[in-house]
């Protein structure tokens, strides 16, 4: 299968750099699949699972926020946070979910707190769902 160069970088470092056969990411508008020879393209990322096929092997990651760009055949994934399924700390994700739920259940929480808690809940749920594909 044809490959393209894929680079995944986040603010805490490089997550992957090398050849890949396919990349599927969740954009704000739904899933976007990228194969070699894709047209130049740019899309903002939503929250969801990213799947990369590298050397015939499927790898899963939790990919949240940021953008993906295809320029002259090289794909750059620049998410706000990205973790491969194997690196996800399930206990931490669970704890984060609990905390977020507590804030949401509390009627006196402020609007900003609720918004932050919603985002946190979403993130932790995505992380937990991605670990199932390990």
């Amino acid at each position: 299968m044809n490959t393209f160069s894929l680079k995944i970088v986040t603010s805490d470092g490089l997550r992957y750099e090398g050849q890949a056969e396919e990349l599927i990411v969740r954009t704000v508008d739904g899933d976007l699949g990228i194969l070699a020879g894709h047209i130049n393209c740019v899309a903002p990322l939503g929250m969801g699972m990213a799947t990369a096929i590298i050397d015939g092997e499927k790898r899963y990651g939790a990919c949240i926020g940021g953008m993906v760009s295809v320029l002259d055949g090289s794909v750059k994934l620049v998410p706000t946070t990205f973790e491969w399924a194997v690196d996800i700390d399930i206990a931490r994700a669970k704890a984060s979910e609990e905390r977020a739920k507590e804030i949401l259940a509390n009627k006196t929480s402020s609007d900003t707190d609720i918004r932050l808690a919603e985002a946190r809940l979403k993130r932790s749920l995505i992380r937990q769902s991605v670990t199932r594909y390990k």
Binding site: V9, S11, G13, M67, S69
Partner: protein, 280 residues
């Protein structure tokens, strides 16, 4: 040594020694912090560079100029995000940032958002109004804060409160060399000529307006976080160098004073002997 008693010299040596102890300890602390800040900056660098390069690629490929983030405006209202340190004794680190800011501010109707206590103190002392004082301790600002600052600025920019947005920070080149920089964040002006000849199509998913509206705040937040990491590493490096120099200076002064002290002591002994001999 006429006029200076051995006791006086001794006191000066003592005080010099305690100064040296302090500067040496500060150097050690800065070294430890530098290691952490440096690894953070190096970790962040690929992100910073990729984000920056990708953004400019997109901007330079842009063929429909509908996004307000790309349009150049004639106005003179500029917002400056100034990243300084929280503490002094870091050589020229803080003053260099402020010097560059003052040069950049000239002739502009500037609003300032300080990150770091030293910068905030300076603006307070010079009665320069600031946008917010929520981020006055640079050490505690995290990536989430960077993104919320970016969001706020983008919103204000779209409302026309500013015509330009800059960040003033210190680029960490190496432990021995740091450089203050002023980076224009908004608008995203095309660099040089648009790529001519082969016009490459760019697919925006779902459309260019949505794309820019979503990724520009992300870009700003990311670049801001990168600048913050660089600045933090620079601060520790600058402090380490400054404290190293101070320790060395103290060492030199102690050596000079010790020499003086020994001479004075010897002179006193010689004098005593001469008196004894003369008396016998």
């Amino acid at each position: 040594m006429a006029g200076v008693s051995t006791k006086e010299i001794k006191t000066r040596i003592r005080s010099m020694e305690s100064t040296r102890q302090i500067t040496r300890a500060m150097e050690m602390v800065a070294s430890a912090k530098l290691r952490k800040a440096q690894s953070q900056a190096l970790n962040c660098r690929p992100y910073f560079e990729t984000l920056y390069a990708t953004m400019w690629d997109i901007v330079n490929h842009d063929r429909d100029f509908s996004s307000p983030y790309l349009a150049k405006r004639g106005g003179n209202k500029a917002a400056f995000i100034v990243i300084s340190g929280d503490r002094g004794l870091a050589g020229g680190y803080n003053s260099n940032v402020l010097k560059l800011l003052n040069a950049q501010m000239e002739g502009k109707d500037a609003s300032i958002l300080p990150i770091g206590k030293k910068g905030a103190d300076y603006f307070k002392a010079h009665q320069i109004p600031v946008l917010t004082e929520n981020y006055t301790t640079a050490e505690t600002v995290n990536i989430g804060d960077c993104f919320s600052v970016a969001k706020q600025l983008c919103k204000a920019y779209l409302q026309g409160q500013y015509d330009k947005v800059y960040v003033v920070y210190t680029d960490f080149r190496s432990v021995l060399s740091q450089e203050t920089r002023c980076l224009q964040l908004l608008p995203l002006e095309k660099q040089g000529d648009a790529p001519s000849g082969t016009v490459r199509e760019m697919l925006y998913e779902p459309d260019s307006e949505t794309v820019f509206a979503a990724i520009v705040p992300e870009y700003l937040g990311g670049v801001l976080y990168g600048a913050l990491c660089e600045s933090r590493a620079s601060e520790q490096a600058a402090r380490r160098t400054a404290m190293d120099a101070a320790t060395q200076n103290a060492q030199e002064m102690i050596e000079g004073l010790s020499l003086q002290f020994n001479r004075a002591r010897q002179a006193a002994i010689t004098q005593e002997i001469t008196e004894i001999i003369a008396g016998s």
